[in-house]
Symmetry: C2
Subunit: 255 residues, 2 copies
DNA sequence: ATGTCTTTGTGAACGCGTGCACAAAGATGG
DNA sequence: CCATCTTTGTGCACGCGTTCACAAAGACAT
């Protein structure tokens, strides 16, 4: 998606659609909860409700993995946990490195949910010499000079970037050059990577802006409703680009 | 999507597709960068490259907002910044509350990028009496007893949940009852909310599992390639459910 | 063994999102 | 004022994802 000219099918690996892959962890979480309560089987309806999806969608998702259900009964919880875990690659251990141990990096390092599913924090890396040697979540922070060696020694293929955005691309480049092929990026930057490297981004700011959009829309609808109720006559101002409290549209944004 | 029977069109507000809304913040970020460097205009090609998207997609996205470009020239940067900001509702201030000031909540509170775009941390809320009164990021943490009053006093409509998953639903319910209509959830839980309330979730664990899936696929492909090169004869074991190092499929997951 | 009843697995239709390709618009130079 | 050239805005086709609806499969009771 970045510099790619080869147009790889991206995710139609051997059939499993990307949308399905993104939901498998959701199912797995729901199933784990059932497993802990020793529930032996679940119907697609029950499991779908627990995962917050449509039951037909869930069945179709599972159909990509194979026919693991029993008609008239449902799915065997333990068996399904195993199958999904295997499909997601969680039966093996994935060492990850976190680069940039600031507010967010430290929070992630302290996050217990990390280790719960095959992910192991192999190293914490920071460029600040003052950070080197400090213990965060029981792990000594290492200086970024040794990044390449750390990655190759531990066989790390997944990297998490929590540095300031200004250095995210160069950190990314070093990670990729050292052998990392999957990156989870928390910095608000568009990373470009060579083909064969996957990047996923988590962007708090974008999430908030999307919420704000819908929030504004909701407020606008309500206002329009009240307005319409108050004065039943149509307004007929300019064209259809009415946008609530804004009168006209200046050519330049105020400061 | 939760308890909804009314089947609201969800996001086709007055035409802007959800996928477009999700990209607007991306464009806005790229445009802000250009604005800071005093670039007066950009072509769709340049801006698309900066935002990491297809230029045709970008032009179509902008066409939903109106005809803000000039053919043969491109788009006026400042004007577009303003239009997108307005469309996203960023010309007004959005007070937000963060509930659950632990590792993650504190990191978010300290995050500078919050305030940069109309979002203001109105309050930090935690259930732990020991936290109450403590300063985090220059803001005093308040006990969750006062949650309802805080929200109504400040006109908060956006809430961020960073509590443990076990209490996320009840926190959510209180937020919604108090008037919050948009929630950003960091707890690994499926929240159910009434119609009219938007929920977005950020789930680190899911992101990592998706990366692990692709990582495993990449490793599998490589292995299959090597294997095919080594012995050119087809294997012909059982059915087509070959999955690399796993021999057979046990009916129950090992411990 | 046979019938009933539950639940899966999937064919088919539909809608959304993406990207190509091009006509129209307008700037720019002569 | 006209020609040329750049770049937008969009019609169109295609593929992916979602959902409905139902036949087939199998458990379970009799
Ligand atoms: N804190 C949040 O809640 C939050 C939310 C959303 C996004 N983000 C983004 O996450 C990133 C980190 O945020 P933060 O609040 O933790 O910032 P921070 O300043 O607290 O931490 C950044 C850390 O990265 C280290 N660093 C700088 N350059 C480095 C390099 N070249 N190699 C390795 N380490 C380096 C710094 O020493 C520092 O420890 C930022 O890009 C921020 O925009 C943070
Ligand atoms: N830390 C991470 O990097 C990370 C990553 C992904 C997801 N998460 C999720 O984010 C959430 C928070 O993680 P954390 O590491 O900050 O946990 P944490 O235990 O450090 O913080 C949780 C905070 O919530 C407060 N709390 C508990 N019940 C509450 C209630 N009813 N009302 C208000 N506050 C309450 C606790 O007092 C505590 O301060 C968890 O659900 C976790 O699974 C965290």
């Amino acid at each position: 998606m970045a510099s790619g000219r080869t147009h790889r099918p991206a995710t139609r690996s051997r059939g499993i659609p990307e949308a399905t892959v993104a939901r498998l962890p959701l199912y797995l979480r729901a199933l784990t909860g059932l497993s802990e309560r020793s529930v032996p089987t679940v119907s697609s309806e029950e499991l779908a409700a627990a995962a917050g999806v449509n039951s037909a969608k869930l069945r179709k998702d599972f159909s990509y993995l194979g026919s693991y259900g029993t008609r008239g009964v449902g799915y065997d919880v333990e068996y399904l946990v195993y199958q999904i875990s295997r499909e997601l690659g969680l039966t093996q251990d994935w060492p990850v490195v976190i680069v940039g141990i600031g507010n967010l990096g430290a929070a992630l390092a302290n996050y217990g949910g990390f280790a719960s599913r095959g992910f192991r924090v192999a190293a914490l890396i920071d460029a600040d010499p003052a950070m080197a040697g400090k213990q965060v979540a029981g792990i000594a922070v290492q200086h970024s000079d040794g990044l390449e060696k750390i990655i190759s020694d531990n066989g790390v293929s997944i990297g998490v970037i929590t540095t300031p955005p200004s250095v995210a691309q160069q950190v990314c480049d070093r990670l990729v050059a050292a052998g990392v092929t999957s990156i989870l990026n928390f910095a608000p930057t568009v990373l470009s990577v060579p083909d064969g490297v996957d990047v996923r981004k988590v962007d708090l700011s974008i999430e908030l802006q999307i919420l704000a959009f819908h929030e504004q829309r909701k407020a606008g609808e309500e206002a329009a409703l009240n307005e319409a109720a108050a004065l039943a006559a149509p307004v007929g101002r300019a064209d259809s680009t009415d946008q609530g409290p804004d009168g006209d549209v200046p050519a330049v944004m105020p400061a």
